[in-house]
């Protein structure tokens, strides 16, 4: 069965990736500076937790005293849910823009909740792509179609934590006084390569659709096909997870290998742009080379070039693959399984396979 040849654009995500909350009369009743003893809006905590569980990030845009507001949020045990909070006396549109920027998301994936008409108008005026929501309708937030993402993967519930780990990692990197190599060594990076299980399939599907650069064919694979392939004895579907001292980065690589008795063909190799420049592509290739050598099979890899995946081709070549055939836009590469480079010194590779 051929993989879905869906264009990545038609599956473009218009779902909300971040909800930005106002505080006074939105998150809590009343105005903090007038009455320090504000009470949370009914059910808001459950709503925030549900948004978080769906893998949607959250932040704050509030005109308030930062210390006081953050202290209050901490007392409510809510502070941990909010990334890059903008609590100051500036314009809400500036705050929302800053948040989107820091999270690396586009404005059309942001929702802004505020009780005040003029604040919502201001944000809509400067940032027309942002979805503005009257706080009076907060209890309907979770029902909005755009708040129900298609991809609830096994990572959705830890997405915020992964972002927070990333913030800490970046901070550590900018404080670090050595070079990038030395910094990577301080991370204590572990990559675990294992056979994909059923709970991985949504994330694998997401990777095939979302990843453009380190993607060796650009073909997308739907859930059903992946489920069949993961159970087929003629195929090996591998995933790679990464974690370091700051926390987990989740599943950041996948490889689909078609296995005949004497020849293996890597049909697809993907690494997430989340971890570009950590050396993961090379690690996956190195692992596959070792496995093929151990199994005494010939190893080949398919490549379909497009305008974004040159990086993946270069990585195959720089790890010793060479071209053996070309059919239309499909390039066949091969590796003679000699001169397999050691893994980078900053990564520890673990595997459940022999």
């Amino acid at each position: 069965m051929p993989p879905n040849l869906c264009s990545a654009d038609s599956l473009k995500d218009s779902w909300i990736k971040c909800v930005v909350w106002d505080l006074d009369d939105t998150m809590w009743q009343g105005t903090l500076l007038e009455d320090n003893d504000v009470v949370l809006m009914p059910r808001i905590k459950a709503i925030i937790q549900q948004v978080d569980a769906r893998g949607i990030l959250q932040s704050i845009a509030s005109r308030n005293n930062h210390e006081l507001a953050w202290e209050r949020l901490t007392e409510f045990h809510l502070a941990e849910y909010f990334l890059h909070p903008q609590i100051n006396w500036g314009n809400k549109s500036d705050s929302v823009r800053i948040i989107a920027n820091k999270l690396g998301i586009s404005l059309d994936t942001v929702a802004f909740v505020d009780d005040q008409d003029f604040e919502r108008d201001e944000v809509r005026f400067y940032l027309p792509e942002v979805l503005t929501i009257d706080a009076a309708h907060t209890d309907k937030l979770l029902n909005l179609p755009r708040m129900n993402p298609r991809f609830i993967t096994n990572e959705s519930s830890i997405r915020r934590k992964m972002y927070q780990a990333d913030i800490q990692r970046h901070r550590a990197e900018s404080d670090f006084t050595g070079n990038k190599q030395e910094f990577l060594k301080t991370l204590n990076l572990y990559v675990t390569i294992r056979v994909a299980g059923e709970s991985d399939l949504r994330r694998v599907e997401e990777l095939t659709i979302r990843t453009n650069q380190f993607n060796t064919t650009g073909l997308t694979y739907g859930y059903e096909l992946l489920a069949d392939l993961s159970k087929s004895s003629d195929h090996l579907l591998l995933v790679a997870d990464m974690e370091d001292r700051y926390g987990a980065s989740g599943t950041i690589g996948l490889a689909l290998i078609a296995r005949e008795s004497m020849v293996w063909v890597v049909k697809l190799l993907i690494t997430s742009c989340r971890v570009l420049s950590r050396g993961i592509g090379g690690v996956m290739i190195g692992y596959i080379l070792r496995l093929a050598k151990q199994q005494h099979v010939q190893l080949r890899a398919q490549f379909v070039s497009n305008d974004r995946n040159r990086m993946a081709y270069v990585t195959y070549r720089f790890h010793g693959f060479y071209e053996v055939a070309e059919r239309g836009n499909l390039i066949m590469l091969e590796h003679n399984l000699t001169n397999i480079r050691p893994y980078p010194s900053h990564i520890t590779v673990r595997s459940s396979l022999p």
């Binding site: 190599q181 990585t315 720089f318 060479y322």
Partner: protein
């Protein structure tokens, strides 16, 4: 600045460390896919050459010395159109 010096300059600033001309950059562990693609783009732009698929042999890129030799060789066989795009002094 000659080709070798320009290539050395790029490597040292991209890798943020001193590298000798004959050092194998892959063994040094500084090359990941992003580094590799940027290196190729640098060489293409700096020397007005096109790195084709068949050029992506590791032997052309494994050291400052190897890359210099490759770049010079490509420049000497470059078409007039390529040379026009980015005239640079040969050495």
């Amino acid at each position: 600045m000659d080709a070798r010096a320009r290539i050395r300059g790029y490597f040292v600033s991209a890798a943020e460390q001193e590298i000798r001309d004959e050092d194998d950059i892959f063994e040094l562990g500084i090359v990941d896919s992003l580094f590799a693609i940027r290196l190729i783009q640098f060489v293409e732009k700096e020397f007005a050459i096109t790195v084709e698929r068949e050029d992506l042999d590791i032997r052309n890129f494994c050291s400052i010395a190897a890359l210099t030799k490759f770049a010079l060789q490509k420049m000497s066989t470059a078409t007039p159109l390529e040379q026009q795009r980015h005239p640079s002094p040969k050495d």
